[in-house]
């Protein structure tokens, strides 16, 4: 077995291997399509709460959650990695480090809240077309945020997650 101390390129090799691992964290086409459908369902909720009976509204919410769970399971299998829910910062050696995907995640939360409130307000005033445009823009913004979050995860995998 090769010995690290006699191999000066050991740390470099580890960096290359981490980079290969990070490259696996690329979402397949169906993940992005499914995520867009999931977000579309989320932003359809203000319409549902206004125009659908109570039971049908909850069907949309459950469908959105089911899509999110299925997509996460599929991504885990496709990439061979389970990343799971990630805290916005980690404590190492008594210091808090902000994770690379943090700004994207915060932006996604802000966009989802702002878009839902704006849509509800526009629907109340009867501006349906404007509400649909807001929902469509929100889906695009969420997809961009999701891509940025995955880039952050790849960046963290390349960097070694703080270990080394």
């Amino acid at each position: 077995m090769r010995d690290v101390a006699r191999d000066p390129a050991a740390l470099e090799l580890l960096r290359v291997q981490r980079s290969q691992l990070a490259d696996r964290m690329r979402p397949p086409w169906w993940y992005l399509t499914g995520a867009a459908i999931g977000w579309a369902l989320v932003f359809a909720c203000p319409f549902g709460s206004r125009y659908l009976p109570h039971a049908d509204y909850w069907t949309i919410v459950v469908a959105a959650l089911a899509v999110a769970c299925l997509l996460q399971l599929g991504l885990d299998r496709a990439t061979g990695m389970k990343v799971g829910p990630r805290p916005l910062r980690v404590l190492r050696d008594g210091i808090f480090y902000y994770r690379p995907g943090r700004p994207a995640l915060i932006a996604m939360l802000v966009v989802s809240l702002a878009a839902t409130v704006t849509e509800a307000s526009l629907i109340r005033r009867g501006l349906l077309v404007a509400a649909i445009v807001v929902a469509a823009l929100a889906v695009v913004a969420e997809m961009a945020g999701q891509q940025a979050r995955l880039r952050g995860i790849r960046q963290e995998l390349r960097a070694g997650g703080g270990a080394a």
Binding site: D3, V4, D7, L13, Q17, R24, K82, V83, L157
Partner: protein
């Protein structure tokens, strides 16, 4: 974190396994870990068992349909050992590159005293004479 070598993760295959598991994913599947580490199935099985016995790696076995799937994750103990070992390796690398610099300096010094310095002196003299 104290920089100290860990004999268990000193071999490069085990270092690769631990280093990849510490990279940021919660769990990594057998095939993904094998491909990223560039090792064979049997080597990964053998080395992961050693790490599991030492309490550095947690192994979870399952199946998708009829296909068996094995997932790995680094334990807190494994992460501590790896961080200490990597810090020690970084120190070692620094020491090796530092001593290489000293050797280069030592090799360059006699050369400079014998060849470069007289030449520099000549040049300076040349400039003054002009």
């Amino acid at each position: 974190m104290t920089a100290k070598p860990d004999p268990l993760i000193h071999p490069i295959t085990r270092l690769s396994i631990c280093g990849l598991l510490a990279a940021g994913a919660d769990w990594i599947e057998f095939a993904a870990l094998r491909d990223a580490a560039g090792i064979s199935d049997s080597v990964l099985s053998k080395q992961s068992r050693v790490l599991e016995d030492a309490g550095y790696v947690k192994v979870r076995k399952g199946a998708i349909g009829r296909r068996p799937r094995t997932w790995f994750r680094l334990t807190a103990e494994g992460r501590r050992a790896l961080e200490g070992h990597l810090a020690w390796l970084a120190q070692l690398e620094e020491a090796v590159s530092g001593s290489a610099r000293d050797v280069q300096q030592a090799l360059r010094s006699p050369f400079e005293s014998v060849v470069v310095a007289p030449l520099a002196g000549t040049e300076t003299t040349g400039v003054v004479e002009r």
